[in-house]
């Protein structure tokens, strides 16, 4: 199984540790992982802003970089949603269709494709609050959303429960959006920041030492909010915990 590692632009630039953890974790699990060096971004930001034609170049480049892999795996729910559901600024060739069908968000890849049983190297002796991004929750559906009447399930929790020493806390509104929303964070700054403040305060109030998520973009926003508020709470990507980071 040959896996193409997709490291979204903001992770490449600001959170390399998340990319490193994802790579190391997939390697520990015995996969052949390749990072195509010419990758940039999936085109989500332009497309979500309505400027679909401006996304075409990035989308074409994404397909060019990743069309030779069995699976394309990235530590980002929203980017995965873009590739899978919205990569349509370009002509829908068989190569595009293949890339769209084979792109996975890390948690669903570990849970559904690899069905990983254990992470013996992982230990995280902290209280964590899980933040499911709206993309993973309501689009990729890696966990039950509170609005829907269906049996409870959570792929990220299934994975995190295999980590030694971890404790979970639950905020009062576990699946309310944190307000990042891509360019929403810039063009709707007042609401975005207020949503972020409410989100980190809710986790902090529940006793979380860490907020863990499969989406670094949400965490980047929440971290900025928590630091400005002076809240003592830290942020970590699920890949880092599953790869054995202790703090």
């Amino acid at each position: 199984m040959r896996v193409g590692l997709f490291v979204p632009c903001y992770i490449d630039a600001f959170f390399p540790a998340v990319g490193i953890a994802t790579l190391e974790l997939l390697e520990r699990l015995g996969l052949e992982v390749v990072y195509p060096l010419d990758q940039t971004c999936c085109g989500q930001m332009m497309a979500n802003s309505g400027s679909q034609k401006d996304a075409a170049g990035a989308e074409a480049l994404f397909v060019k970089n990743f069309s030779d892999f069995d699976y394309i795996v990235g530590p980002s729910g929203s980017c995965t949603v873009h590739v899978r559901e919205h990569l349509d600024a370009i002509a829908q060739t068989p190569a595009v269709a293949k890339v769209r069908a084979n792109t996975y968000e890390l948690v669903e890849f570990l849970h559904d494709i690899l069905a990983v049983e254990a992470f013996p190297w992982a230990e995280f002796p902290h209280k964590v609050g899980l933040h499911n991004s709206c993309s993973t929750l309501r689009k990729l559906r890696t966990a039950k959303a509170s609005e829907i009447d269906e049996p409870v399930f959570s792929k990220p929790m299934d994975l995190l429960r295999k980590v030694r020493g971890i404790e979970f806390v639950t905020p009062s509104r576990p699946d309310e959006c944190c307000g990042f929303g891509g360019t929403f964070s810039i063009f709707e700054e007042p609401v975005s920041a207020k949503m972020g403040y409410d989100k980190v305060a809710d986790h902090h109030g529940a006793g979380a030492e860490y907020i863990v998520s499969a989406d670094t973009s949400c965490l980047m926003h929440q971290k900025g909010c928590a630091e400005r508020l002076g809240l003592d709470i830290r942020f970590i990507h699920i890949a880092q915990i599953l790869n054995g980071d202790r703090a």
Partner: protein, 458 residues
């Protein structure tokens, strides 16, 4: 026409901390009650699916069902009018009232008459119009539009209501006891019911096979409006049609559970024929609905039963308030309806969303709200309605992200190489991000450079 600046209005709403926090809590509480009631019946998700299909079926046979409704209603003794748009609707109402010398109209809550701006039209022509729903009356007295389609004054605290009532209907200044305030409204509205020559209601559902319609309320004011005066006018949007009475069972079970988290509204009133010696006029209103029905991506929004569940769950709506949308319809449903009325004026609204999708999940008729928001953004960009700054940023970002060399230059060294990008783009971005948040610190190296040092490149 000027664009509505949702972000700016939201900023003012958030600055009124006590109001914003109450607003958020109150509506979140409705969302939680909705969850409890909805998940209390095992077939909830099936009901949503059924409701969605009934609506889609009806909308795709709308002309037939409307004609069936019209024929049955006429047989029942009602007078049926057709209004192409708001102007025709308002004129029809005025003509009905004028022909009978009616000077006073009591009405229950109707988003359609808000949409038609009927009240100000009639008032300018000497007709006194009294809103009889408590929330709507508060808004009328304060000369503000409703901020929510079900709870019109939800953005106000009791002190605000107390001040409005003291200023307008002689309530005791400073008395903010909610029972006192409600009683004052009741006492001052009641004489209008007795005096008015005409009453008006909307309709939640109109049944084609019987020519009857149903109004769901909690205060009983619609029943007084319809039953005390001799003349009853009902304004009904053409999308309110359902084929059969048996379908009501599906929608009635969904409506109040979704709206307020109660199993049913206090009053579910069926109107079929004029009372003895009275008149019943039904106005079927299009006002852009036929045009919407022809929009491939957006016709699903006509399934809406106006429950407001999408507003209650919307994290943006709860933090910005309904008035910040500057439109009759606010919140997620407003965001996908309003641009069809005026694309320039409402071009910012589809961006007042994080695309989180909670609205879609609570919608009792399964409107794909967040997908329509995404689609509207494309339409707005295609019609050249994006603000200049955003348009330029996306053009530049698109260019940089399509080219590995430009991309690497842009994120190299100190994180962001300002010389490669126009200054306005950088400063707009950083200023907005940094106003209330810390900016992420650029790490020593990018992932890519770490990879080149630590792995054998392919």
């Amino acid at each position: 026409m000027k664009r509505i600046d949702h972000a700016e209005a939201a900023s003012e709403f958030i600055a009124a901390k006590e109001h914003q926090e109450f607003h958020d809590r109150r509506l979140w509480d409705l969302r939680l009650k909705r969850d409890r009631e909805a998940h209390g019946i095992p077939e909830w998700e099936e009901l949503r699916e059924l409701a969605s299909r009934i609506k889609e079926h009806t909308l795709s046979h709308l002309a037939d069902y409307l004609e069936e409704f019209e024929a049955r209603a006429r047989e029942n003794g009602a007078t049926v009018h057709w209004a192409r748009d708001a102007t025709e609707h308002n004129q029809i109402v005025l003509d009905i009232l004028s022909a009978r010398g009616s000077k006073t109209l009591v009405k229950s809550k109707s988003m359609l008459t808000e949409e038609c701006d009927m009240r100000s039209f009639l008032e300018r022509r000497g007709i006194e119009v009294i809103e009889t729903d408590l929330g709507e009356r508060i808004q009328q007295l304060d000369d503000e539009p409703p901020s929510h389609i079900v709870v019109p004054a939800v953005h106000k605290l009791r002190d605000d209501v107390s001040a409005v009532f003291a200023r307008t209907i002689g309530a005791e200044r400073g008395n903010n006891d909610i029972h006192y305030l409600a009683e004052t409204q009741r006492r001052t509205t009641r004489p209008y019911f007795l005096r008015a020559e005409a009453g008006m209601t909307g309709a939640n559902f109109a049944v084609a096979e019987t020519g009857s319609f149903v109004v769901c309320t909690n205060e009983g004011n619609a029943d007084l409006s319809a039953n005390v005066p001799k003349l009853h006018i009902a304004s009904i949007g053409i999308e309110k049609i359902i084929p059969r009475t048996e379908h009501l069972g599906v929608f009635i079970r969904l409506l109040s559970r979704s709206a307020l988290g109660s199993p049913i509204t206090q009053y579910t009133s069926h109107f079929r024929a004029p009372r003895a010696g009275g008149e019943l006029h039904i106005i079927l209103v299009d006002n852009g609905r036929s045009e919407r029905l022809g929009m491939r991506d957006f016709w699903y929004s006509l399934k809406c039963i106006r429950c407001g569940a999408c507003m209650n769950t919307c994290p943006v709506y709860r933090r910005s308030g309904g008035l910040s949308y500057g439109a009759t319809y606010s919140g997620p449903i407003g965001v996908i309806i309003d641009p069809a009325f005026n694309i320039r004026k409402y071009s910012n609204l589809p961006f007042a969303s994080t695309l989180n999708g909670s609205c879609t999940n609570v919608c009792p008729v399964k409107i794909n709200i967040h997908e329509q928001i995404y689609k509207w953004r494309q339409v707005i960009a295609e019609r050249n309605q994006l603000p200049f700054v955003k348009k330029e940023m996306m053009r530049i970002a698109g260019k940089v992200l399509a080219d590995p060399r430009l991309y690497r230059a842009a994120i190299s060294a100190a994180g962001l190489a300002i010389e490669h990008l126009p200054r306005f783009a950088i400063y707009n971005w950083l200023n907005a991000w940094g106003r209330q948040r810390e900016i992420p610190k650029a790490p020593g190296q990018t992932f890519r450079s770490w990879y080149l040092e630590n792995r054998k490149p392919s």
